[in-house]
């Protein structure tokens, strides 16, 4: 479980996050949605510690990372996996080496066991045939899947995904979404996903927070989001005429 309390973040005079508080449960896919520029990436970076919030607390199962020292932070990071917007695979290594990387770095297991674990993760995301390819030989969706395999190699307790669907076609997006959702359930991980993809919202949103003007303007799950009265959220969700019509017919 991850709790954030009263997070503030400014860049110069621009306020990006203004008093954001939320609770993200384990075993659930938690979504952060919002318009481009709403501060989703900044919030996620504050949570994982790539940015320091100006004010506020980030609690990982009760442990406040903002006050963590270097050592404790490093130890915590070994419990985290992260999927970046552009996959961020190491391009000097093959797919298998990418997945082996965190294992080689931190695991004391024997080489064979590490290899077995890496292969298992690749199989889990259906990428075992591509294990010897280098990242630039992969399509966007395959890169994302390989990055998921890398993120789960060390059996993380916390998984973060920054726009896992950006640049993917709807069908591939669905596969990635389901993968994230299933893995979260299977291993009881606390997962936080940044997205502005409506399919994900409807598909895997166990818990959704809607970020606007640096604040949480709506919170709920995928059933509730269809019946919301919030005008701001409706404008964001059903931004096009067609979607609006589809939605009204459904309801």
């Amino acid at each position: 479980m991850i709790e954030i309390k009263n997070i503030h973040k400014n860049f110069g005079t621009q306020t990006v996050l203004n008093d954001v508080s939320a609770v993200f449960d384990n075993g659930k896919t938690n979504l952060i949605i919002g318009q481009s520029g709403a501060g989703k990436t900044v919030l996620l970076k504050c949570i994982v510690g790539l940015l320091a919030p100006d004010k506020g607390k980030v609690l990982y199962d009760g442990r406040n990372v903002v006050t963590f020292g270097k050592k404790e932070r490093l130890m915590l990071r070994r419990e985290m996996g992260m999927l970046f917007q552009n996959a961020a695979l190491f391009d000097s290594m093959s797919v298998l080496e990418n997945v082996m990387f965190p294992l080689e770095m931190f695991s004391d297991k024997s080489y064979d066991e590490k290899l077995k674990r890496a292969r298992f993760c690749l199989e889990r995301v259906n990428m075992i045939e591509a294990q010897d390819k280098s990242p630039e030989e992969l399509s966007g969706g395959m890169q994302k899947r390989a990055a998921i395999a890398r993120a789960i190699a060390l059996e993380p307790k916390y998984l973060f995904c920054d726009e896992p669907n950006s640049g993917l076609d709807p069908k591939t997006s669905l596969i990635i979404d389901e993968l994230i959702h299933d893995i979260t359930k299977e291993y009881n991980i606390t997962t936080i996903v940044n997205t502005h993809d409506m399919n994900s919202v409807m598909g895997i949103g166990d818990h959704i927070i809607f970020l606007a003007n640096g604040e949480i303007s709506w919170e709920g799950n995928k059933e509730e989001i269809l019946h919301t009265n919030s005008k701001q959220l409706n404008d964001f969700l059903f931004s096009s005429e067609i979607l609006r019509r589809v939605a009204s017919e459904k309801i």
């Binding site: 490093l74 130890m75 970046f84 552009n86 990387f101 080689e104 770095m105």
Partner: protein
Amino acid sequence: MLFIKSINTFGSYLMLMSRVLTKPESWKMFSRQFLRDIYQLGINSIPIVLLISFFIGAVICIQMKLNIESAWMPKFVVGYATREILILEFSSSMMCLILAGKVGSNITSEIGTMRVTQQIDAMEIMGVNSANFLILPKISALVGMIPILVIFSIAAGIVGAYAIGYVTQMMTAEDLTVGLQYEFHQWYIWCSVIKSLFFAFIIASVAAFYGYRVEGGSIEVGKASTDSVVSCSVLILFADIVLTQLLMQ
């Protein structure tokens, strides 16, 4: 303003170095990176070092022959002067300036690209000390390889001098040999090697520093590469003066 900025930059350079110069988390991964960098930064630079040194050796030889040699100078002066120039300055300082262009921009663009494509963030999130993992092998590889490059450069320069003597028949190989051996101080070779160690450290660490702190996209990576080559060159020239003063007294 500029002064404060440079102090700031120097401070962040030192902070980066304090993260770089620590014990690697995994020696196995370190040695893998190290071997890769030996190849990429060292072995791959041998051809250009040989080529440039060969021609510079030849050109120095021609210049000495045409401009210095005269009736009251002994014949061996050409070989002597060529050797001194190669050993004392060209094969260490000038060659490192050239390498700052080749190796420095390579390091900056590689690390800079990793930065803008979030590969460095990905490492940090895993709890890897990315500065140590990426930069320490490069520094060790270049510092380890540079003496070899210096020796190769001296050798190629001398071969170039013989070659031009042979091709143009402007002097005999005997005269050249006498000159090359005249009043030889082994210490000068050591000076050259010692200087080059410092230059190698400057190239690898400064170039990595510029790459590591890139923000933005491919344009910034390109700009950082250029800046890094300029800074490396200026620092090498400056260090050359200081080191030469210290070593040659």
